[in-house]
């Protein structure tokens, strides 16, 4: 589209003209080329989209920029200033998408790949980008369950498919696989140009035995040619708690409730002025008389969390060289005093064109982190305990009271320091037109040192042993080489073929050394000198080394017929040292077809339709969840007291885990399984992409069906073998789902833009098989015959695990009793409790499902499902001139959450059942009862959160040395709509709510200056 203010030419004359190039929404287009047909006049636009050159009237100038249709303008004598609005090239819209080992234009994608727009994410302060992806792409599930400084996120693509292997996607930065997604702290968010999520097998199978959980590709920014910018950005976040802490504010009520709890359980009341277990419990009278303190422990433990993040970015590019430097300092002070995380990152990218057809480039990452851990300070400590004794020393309730927060703040020390260095070097060589060679060497070195000192005042163990010092060191090293050739050719205007073939070699090495010393004369040196500990109590408790090598060959063919019918075939072969000797090589093929329906003749008349594309793919990828040496036989090592000294003793049988109450029983492994291999995921995907009305309305939907087989599981062996378990491939899990992304530019004018993006994900998960019921040690539900095994952590309060894997059911469903109200006085409880506690009035009315009038394990059933029915998000963005506003909503529907807060929440305790208050909701207080895990504790964890509101103002200053300034204000977690009773329903995949403090409401202010 060309807009000319005046059209009439007068006479030819060479003179200076100027102009501005913008996109349809009025944003300036920087770096666009403006040139005459004969090439005599040439310039590019600056940051404000402006250009100036000398031209004769009548000269036709072409304005060209990647992603837009070329536009011409004819210089007239009457006009000196021109405005050019470039129309987006529908073909080129969103331009290229990075896929593994290459890039394709988005319109040519055959697989399911989601792209995340970085724009609004850069304004949110975070130590890593991973957690910010929540709700930003369909099929991507992100859980931010921890609010500790520097906390990481849990990430899943299209559900859980492994039980014992990892379920976390692979993250690849500029072609360098950097391990599991969730903690990409070493790459600055502001330095990321784009993020692509590879979801279906056609997209992820190229990553072979590491692709089954999906792949997240991160590409960092490049400098624009001819432009030098420096950006300084500072963000400050201040957080408040979004809910009031649920602790005892009234000590008298606390004491009364505690007494009632004891009395109802047939025990002696606590607060009667007695010493029990070395602790003095004052009588109610003493409390009433004010003889005891009313300490505000919250104030002593907690503070207002503040995060500061400062970034300096400098980049520049000429026709030969470009560089991009990004430095960030991130300082996160947590809620608990002294709980902190600091990070300094330096990311540097550099590339140089040696020859016209030869470019070398490097990308480097330096990251230094420090984590001072001081979590779990007891802010809910008994308010009756004073802070100090009369002599000024700290008041400890008994000789074994180790939880005084001030003591802990002074005497407990836990610091981890991490260093992460990653360096890639790549060479791109166009051998001849159409044949490209790429080789890349990546190196990563990661080290962490954790220093811990527990003074004898901070734990029973430390008290018994005179202090505990620990030094834990980990090192990780990875060297990777990737080399591939890409050949592409178009012929007869109908055929377009691209072939890629390559190989890679990856060598990973891990080393750990964990030492501990006990028995220090005093606490002065802390863990500075482990030799100061008691020589007999010094120990190396972990000394590990793991080496693994992965050798791969891969290839891909992309073929397009008449730019309408697209085919992709990929293949990868992975050979790994980790696999058993009988299964060293895995093969992972995939194929996809795509049909650009809108290119068919019968739709040529439909000008409103910009794209209509159907996609289908099928393929197999793997999950190499095996650890190094897991397929080998392994001897165990112990210490034996031989005639007065310790000897190291060695032989068959190796401790692989613990089981039983307090993990008291050892689990023995160590027998080899030479058949052990990767888990295999086969996935079918059918997708549809539609764009209409000048691409202002865009819809992508996908349906997938994903089966994971050969699950890595442990099989039991006969006891007489002397081994408990052996690793085998056995069992399968299904994930099937539907995803949709809808994007709309509702209003789009030069000064005003209003857009909306809707993301919807639905996944259904089902355990198909868990191997042979007997050798897998499966339990059987007596009433339904359902086979299951428990999973996840045992919950002490209930004396059972909450989650099970049951055949035919979603992973991690909750298994327990059912409850219907409270047993009211005089009513029939419906069962008899042998211990005589649970069938009393005021207790929970458990349902006797098997009608034997007894409460046994057979009365349990599935009582909840922590997997969401669906998740969705809506991002609304508006811009008016320099002012921008975005509102981001995120919701989860139908995920059940296990909330055990009812058993200790002071809010609930105050509303307990009593004969005078016959509640049907909260049972009576009773310290002697054993709570059973029941649906009483299962809550609907659905929520809709106003996750983020961002208001910004950008001022174009336009000076040569000061281009732009931007200020913005962001609120995270403004409000959560939910019926959940705990602080916040966003919990981990197992649906277990572990308490903690309320979710932060974060207010942040940012300023960004571009020079």
């Amino acid at each position: 589209m060309l807009v000319l203010t005046t059209v009439l030419p007068l006479w030819a004359q060479t003179r200076g003209i100027s102009g501005t190039v913008t996109d349809p929404s009025g944003q300036p287009v920087a770096g666009a080329a403006v040139f005459s047909a004969d090439g005599k006049q040439f310039t590019t636009t600056d940051e404000q989209g402006r250009f100036a050159l000398r031209a004769d009237a009548g000269t036709v100038l072409t304005v060209s920029f990647l992603g837009f249709t070329d536009t011409t303008l004819t210089v007239t004598a009457a006009q000196d200033s021109y405005t050019v609005i470039l129309a987006p090239d529908v073909q080129m819209l969103d331009d290229v998408v990075v896929i593994g080992y290459g890039a394709v234009s988005k319109s040519d994608l055959t697989g399911s790949v989601a792209s995340v727009k970085m724009g609004p994410l850069s304004d949110i302060t975070s130590s890593s980008v991973d957690g910010l992806l929540q709700g930003r792409a369909a099929g991507l599930q992100v859980m931010n369950t921890s609010q500790d400084p520097g906390a990481t996120a849990t990430i899943r693509i299209r559900g859980n498919s492994s039980i014992n292997g990892s379920n976390t996607p692979l993250i690849v930065v500029n072609g360098f696989p950097m391990g599991e997604a969730g903690s990409l702290t070493s790459i600055n968010t502001a330095d990321i140009a784009s993020i692509e999520i590879l979801k279906d097998a056609s997209a992820s199978a190229i990553y072979g035995s590491r692709g089954a959980n999906g792949v997240i590709l991160v590409t960092t920014r490049d400098a624009k040619e001819g432009v030098t910018t420096a950006t300084l950005r500072h963000q400050t976040v201040i957080s408040t708690l979004s809910d009031k802490l649920d602790i005892w504010y009234d000590p008298m009520l606390m004491a009364q409730v505690a007494n009632e709890e004891q009395t109802n359980g047939g025990l002696t009341p606590l607060y009667i002025g007695q010493t029990l277990g070395g602790v003095y419990y004052p009588s109610l009278l003493e409390i009433q008389n004010g003889q005891w303190a009313h300490t505000d422990w919250v104030d002593l433990c907690l503070r207002t969390p503040v995060v500061n993040s400062t970034t300096l970015a400098v980049n520049s590019a000429s026709s030969k060289a470009s560089f991009n430097l990004n430095v960030n300092y991130y300082d996160d002070e947590g809620l608990y005093k002294k709980d902190a995380y600091r990070k300094l990152n330096l990311n540097l990218g550099f590339s140089y064109k040696l020859l016209d057809n030869l470019t070398v480039s490097t990308y480097g990452v330096l990251s230094a982190t420090t984590r001072n851990k001081m979590d779990g300070l007891e802010y809910g400590r008994n308010p009756l305990w004073p802070v100090y004794n009369e002599d000024g020393s700290y008041y400890r309730a008994s000789a074994t009271d180790f939880s005084h927060p001030l003591v802990r703040l002074e005497d407990y020390y836990d610091q981890s320091k991490g260093r992460d260095i990653a360096q890639s070097g790549a060479l791109d060589w166009t051998i001849v037109e159409g044949l490209k060679f790429h080789t890349q060497i990546d190196y990563r070195y990661n080290s962490s040192v954790q220093d811990i000192y527990e003074a004898s005042t901070t734990s029973q163990d430390a008290f018994d042993n005179g202090g505990i010092a620990k030094v834990n060191m980990d090192k990780y090293q990875d060297i990777l080489s990737e080399t591939y050739l890409t050949w592409s050719r178009k012929w007869e205007d109908r055929h377009d073929l691209t072939l890629m073939a390559g190989h890679s070699f990856d060598r990973e090495e891990k080393r750990g050394l964990y030492t501990t010393a006990r028995g220090f004369v005093n606490d002065v040196l802390r863990n500075e000198n482990m030799n100061a500990g008691d020589p007999e109590l010094r120990q190396i408790y972990n000394d590990g080394y793991y080496l693994s090598k992965l050798l791969s060959f891969y290839g891909r063919a992309n073929y397009a017929l008449m730019d309408k019918y697209l085919f992709t075939l990929t293949m990868r072969a992975d050979g790994s040292t980790k696999f058993g000797t009988n299964n060293k090589w895995g093969f992972f093929p995939s194929g996809a077809v795509s049909w650009k329906v809108h290119k068919e003749d019968f739709l040529q008349g439909a000008t409103w339709l910009n794209e209509l594309k159907l996609r289908a793919s099928y393929g197999v990828s793997g999950n190499q969840g095996i650890n190094s040496y897991q397929t080998l036989d392994r001897y165990g090592m112990e210490k034996f007291w031989n005639g007065g000294s310790w000897k190291t003793v060695i032989g068959p049988g190796y401790e692989v885990g613990r089981t039983g109450a307090n993990d008291r029983y050892m689990v023995w492994g160590g027998i080899s399984n030479p058949d052990l291999k990767w888990e295999s995921t086969s996935q079918a995907d059918i997708g549809l992409d539609i764009k209409v009305l000048d691409s202002r309305l865009r819809l992508t939907v996908d349906w997938y069906y994903k089966v994971t087989t050969d699950l890595l599981r442990e099989k039991y062996l006969p006891l007489t073998s002397s081994y408990d378990k052996i690793w085998v491939n056995d069992g399968s899990v299904l994930n099937t789902g539907f995803e949709a992304e809808l994007g709309a530019d509702i209003i789009s004018t030069r000064d005003f833009h209003l857009g909306a993006d809707l993301v919807f994900s639905l996944n259904r998960n089902r355990v198909l098989s868990l191997g042979d019921a007997i050798s897998s040690g499966l339990s059987r539900d007596a009433r339904t015959g359902m086979y299951y095994e428990v999973t996840g952590p045992a919950i002490g309060m209930f004396n059972q695990n909450a989650n099970i894997l049951a055949i035919g059911k979603p992973m991690n469903v909750f298994y327990g009793y059912r409850v219907k109200g409270i047993i009211q006085e005089g009513a029939d409880p419906g069962f008899i409790d042998a211990a005589g506690q649970l069938d009393q009035s005021g207790e929970l009315k458990y349902l006797d499902l098997d009608d034997d009038y007894e409460l046994t394990g057979a009365d349990r059933c599935i009582i909840g499902d922590p997997n969401p029915d669906f998740t969705g998000s809506l991002n609304l963005s508006a811009r008016w001139k320099g002012l921008d506003l975005s509102v981001f909503l995120y919701g989860v529907y139908g995920a059940d959450v296990l909330y055990n807060g009812y058993t200790f929440s002071p809010r609930v305790k105050a509303r307990r059942w009593t004969p005078d208050n016959p509640s049907d909701r909260f049972p009576r207080l009773n310290n002697a009862r054993q709570y059973l895990l029941s649906d009483y504790f299962i809550q609907d964890g659905s929520y809709l959160r106003i996750q983020n509101i961002n208001l910004g103002y950008t001022l174009d200053i336009g000076k040569r040395w000061f281009k732009q300034a931007r200020a913005y204000f962001t609120i995270d977690n403004l409000y959560t709509f939910t019926r959940f009773d705990g602080y916040d329903p966003e919990v981990g995949l197992d649906g277990i709510y572990w308490g903690g403090y309320p979710k932060f409401r974060r207010f942040s202010l940012g300023i960004e200056l571009t020079f």
Binding site: L427, D464, R507, Y541, K639, G651, L719
Partner: protein, 500 residues
């Protein structure tokens, strides 16, 4: 240039890649048993199997809890009450673990026995190591056959998956034959060489004496677990006596009676003359198994405030920090001791004291607790208290029972005299005398993991233990083979699993 360099590098990296995995930082079949030190270390690994708490606590869970001598505190979690009340099944956790650890010990001993043959070491060292390994295999099979009856027999190391389902022994006698054969061979191979925590020639003789006595008395009393054996009772009583005599012929300074009753149980003297085979543990260890928590199980809780014992001479001894009081002596059993018996007055306590010697009241109330396992120098929960595996007085009583009154009276009276009680009534006939010896064993070896086996081999479980009275003596003879073994080992199924 750079292209070539990176090409070369790539090729080198790929070329240098062998996908065979080499173990790093751990031992496995391929890189162990190369030297004498390896063999010695492997042997001690077989000893170490006895130390795991599943096996160690089994000493009392199986030896004492099911009998009339001891019971468990009511709120102790786990399956201990199933054993106490004789309501166990094939799923009972504690017998299941005991069974498993017998086989862990066996596999470790079998590995030594198999691999010592090719190990380049001196003949003397080979004989000693092989002898000790055979002793340990016999020790574990002895425990298995008297606890579970007929069980699978595994006589070589299990290395591959197809070896993990051993065949059931043809009969209990086939297992006893392994015990006898291993011990006889061990006796031949070993020298007398007392090392705390290890077994020597005398230990082999002692265990063989006990094994012979078990089958002899089992046949003699027609106990159900022993009916199928072909052994002639008198011949095996004679063999038991012969072996026990060898033990009693040892240098009394090395192996003999300890005249001081309390000294037997002194943790600071683990090499006392009474100790033929004792578990090797020490409080300087870093995890349970290296040290033990036995005193915590035997002594009561006082809310973390240390409790003290007071002995007859007024001596105060620090006993425990924060016990759990799991094992409680039955009142009726304690009262069956003569009131002057030092084994009652000094070794069983109901009254405890504070550090100043004043009596204290315990939260758990006044109950009898054994003081055989006390370590005054405990560190937190870490103690050096050690269970006896074979004790001189035990073997002396084996001789008394096997040989009868002539040789037996001096032995029994020596033990009674040490406890400060009068001699046994003289002139008893053989049958009555043997019964008195078995009674004396109950008192002398109380809480040392012996009683249940004495009751079973004499067919007196159901007539002695109130909780077992509802069972037949056949049902009380053995514990069932654990369910997992029945489920997973096709060579053991419920139908052909005739335990007798």
């Amino acid at each position: 240039m750079k292209t070539r360099l990176s090409l070369i590098l790539t090729i080198l990296l790929a070329g240098g890649c062998s996908l065979a995995e080499q173990p790093y930082g751990f031992y496995s079949t391929g890189n162990f048993y190369q030297t004498e030190a390896d063999a010695e270390s492997g042997l001690m690994y077989a000893y170490n199997a006895l130390n795991y708490l599943e096996y160690l606590r089994g000493i009392w869970y199986i030896g004492d809890i099911p009998t009339e001598t001891m019971y468990a505190k009511s709120d102790e979690p786990g399956d201990i009450h199933l054993l106490d009340n004789w309501t166990f099944s094939a799923n009972t956790e504690l017998t299941w673990y005991y069974f498993k650890y017998c086989y862990i010990g066996i596999n470790r001993a079998n590995t030594v026995i198999d691999r010592i043959a090719d190990c380049p070491i001196s003949d003397a060292a080979r004989d000693r190591i092989l002898g000790e390994a055979l002793f340990l295999r016999a020790w574990n099979y002895f425990n298995l056959v008297r606890t579970f009856g007929r069980v699978p027999l595994s006589l070589s190391a299990i290395v591959t998956l197809d070896q993990t389902t051993p065949q059931l022994a043809e009969s209990t006698e086939a297992i006893w034959e392994v015990v006898f054969k291993d011990l006889k061979q061990a006796e031949d191979l070993l020298e007398v060489n007392k090392v705390f925590g290890r077994a020597d020639k005398v230990a082999a003789q002692a265990l063989l004496a006990k094994a012979y006595l078990t089958v002899a008395s089992g046949r003699h009393y027609n106990a159900p677990g022993y009916r199928s054996l072909s052994y002639d009772p008198d011949a095996y009583y004679a063999l038991a006596a012969e072996q026990a005599r060898k033990v009693m012929a040892s240098d009394p300074a090395v192996y003999g009676f300890d005249d001081d009753l309390l000294h037997i149980y002194d943790v600071t003297a683990p090499d006392g003359p009474e100790h033929i085979f004792i578990m090797a543990t020490d409080r300087s260890g870093t995890h349970e198994g290296m040290y033990t928590k036995i005193p915590l199980q035997f002594l009561p809780n006082n809310s973390a405030v240390p409790i003290y014992l007071k002995y007859g001479d007024g001596r105060l001894q620090k006993a425990n920090g924060n016990g759990w009081g799991v094992f409680i002596a039955e009142d009726s059993f304690v009262e069956s001791f003569l009131s002057t018996d030092k084994r009652r007055t000094e070794l069983i306590h109901r009254q405890f004291y504070d550090q100043y010697g004043s009596p204290i009241t315990l939260p758990s109330g006044a109950k009898y607790y054994s003081a055989k396992y006390v370590d005054a120098d405990f560190i937190g929960e870490r103690t050096s208290a050690r269970p006896y595996l074979l004790r001189y007085s035990d073997i002396a009583l084996v001789l008394a029972e096997a040989a009868g009154p002539d040789e037996g009276y001096p032995i029994v009276n020596k033990i009674r005299g040490r406890a400060g009680i009068p001699d046994l009534a003289p002139g008893l006939d053989l049958e009555t005398f043997r019964k008195e010896v078995i009674k004396e064993r109950a008192l002398e070896l109380a809480f040392e993991g012996n009683r249940l086996f004495d009751l079973r081999r004499t067919g007196t479980v159901t007539s002695t233990v109130r909780e077992a009275s509802k069972l037949s003596e056949e049902d009380a003879a053995f514990y069932p083979v654990p369910q997992r073994e029945i489920d997973l080992n096709p060579n053991v199924d419920e139908e052909n699993n005739n335990r007798f």
